[in-house]
């Protein structure tokens, strides 16, 4: 399993005040590789729950969807299937900010996919486990 620069994830999350959490999952069955923050979403309270739900939502539905959005009253979870695995981004969102939140979540997902891709190819070296980020191996 590739390792990821956790500080980069934490920095990404801090850069966006609306971002509640982000994570990268890989493998089969899908498992959490790294995360920063918490999902804090009404539909999925933990990253483990996200890992369990992601394949069902992305791959098993009536239409296979490389991107799935789960919206509750306060938050939006974006799941995106990438070459390196699945990226999850949770952003705070009210009704008025849905469009903007989605754009931000997509940008964030691209950046995480980039970091994950670099980690997968060994371009980024692991700099240790950030306990505060809640990352797991």
């Amino acid at each position: 399993m590739p390792v990821i620069d956790l500080d980069q994830l934490d920095q990404l999350r801090r850069d966006d005040p609306h971002c509640l959490g982000l994570a990268w999952f890989a493998g089969a069955p899908l498992a959490l590789v790294a995360a920063s923050g918490e999902p804090g979403h009404a539909a999925m309270a933990s990253w483990a729950a996200v890992a369990k739900a992601a394949p069902v939502l992305l791959r098993d539905g009536p239409v296979v969807s490389p991107e799935v959005l789960v919206r509750s009253a306060q938050a939006m979870l974006l799941l995106a299937e990438r070459d390196t695995g699945v990226v999850a981004v949770v952003v705070a969102a009210t009704g008025a900010t849905t469009g903007l939140a989605l754009v931000q979540a997509r940008m964030m997902a691209s950046k995480i996919a980039g970091i994950a891709g670099a980690a997968a190819t060994g371009a980024v070296r692991a700099i240790g486990t950030n306990g505060a980020s809640g990352a797991t191996g």
Binding site: V56, L57, S65, V70, R71
Partner: protein, 266 residues
């Protein structure tokens, strides 16, 4: 033959030999017979000895007097004119009322057949051009209406709630999470396999990602996509087949879900 339950019965009805126009002759445990007529794979009429009479439903629902019904019925027997069409022509029913009562009669007759225990189900192809029915109902819609009837819910109101969200852009259904049953299916074509597959997937999704009330989830694929939404204990699922329809559907769900009303099963 093993007795067929409601869903097994509909699974059988859903697969008439091509071109799907003809009659299912059904024998029940009590030795009685029933019939389900189909036109191009859609249900147009069902009857069972123990099922309620269409005339009684017309009287009960629309207040058409027994005397008028008997008079029209006699006249139709003499002239060969269809009974329902005559009631409309004479102004006793509107076309939507006729459609509604015919559909209810069909569904209640199917329920009566299932309740009596189906022992034999034989297909007889129609020899002519079909039954030329004014009103047909899809197998999936009929199955969901039967469920709604059994649960004492307003099948048409549930369908109206569903169509308010779909607006012709998608096929879909409403599922009651508590009972794990579908209560309404869309007017837009949805096969029996679609119904079973989408129901199974929605329930599975709910077990791993239970949407909060007034929450929704959506995915978009190469062509079309899906939207799932929830109001209390009812989950809607809709599937589109093109990007424009998907955009419209998602916008409608996102903008109207907070105020969307749907009858909640007890």
């Amino acid at each position: 033959m093993t007795k067929l339950g409601l869903f097994a019965m509909f699974a059988r009805l859903a697969e008439p030999p091509d071109p799907g126009t003809g009659a299912w002759r059904i024998r029940t445990d009590d030795g009685r017979e029933g019939i389900v007529l189909m036109e191009a794979g859609r249900l147009c009429w069902a009857n069972h000895d123990l099922g309620g009479r269409l005339s009684e439903q017309i009287e009960r629902r629309y207040g058409v007097s027994r005397a008028v019904i008997d008079q029209v019925s006699r006249s139709c027997r003499e002239t060969g004119r269809p009974f329902g069409a005559a009631l409309v022509e004479l102004g006793h029913l509107t076309p939507p009322q006729l459609s509604s009562v015919l559909r209810e009669h069909t569904c209640r007759s199917i329920l009566s057949l299932v309740k009596s225990g189906i022992r034999d189900c034989e297909w007889v192809a129609h020899q002519g051009d079909g039954y030329a029915p004014e009103t047909t109902i899809s197998v999936t819609q009929a199955a969901c209406r039967c469920v709604a009837f059994v649960k004492g819910l307003g099948a048409e109101r549930l369908e109206d709630s569903l169509e308010a969200m779909l607006a012709g852009d998608a096929a879909g259904m409403l599922i009651h999470i508590g009972s794990r049953l579908p209560y309404a299916a869309s007017e837009a074509t949805m096969s029996w396999q679609n119904l079973r597959g989408w129901l199974t997937w929605t329930l599975r999704t709910d077990s791993v990602c239970p949407l909060p009330s007034r929450g929704y989830a959506t995915g978009r694929g190469a062509v079309g996509g899906w939207v799932m939404w929830r109001a209390d204990d009812v989950v809607g699922v809709a599937v589109t087949t093109n990007d424009d329809a998907q955009r419209r559907l998602l916008l409608r769900v996102a903008s109207t879900l907070a105020d969307w009303t749907v009858e909640q099963p007890a």
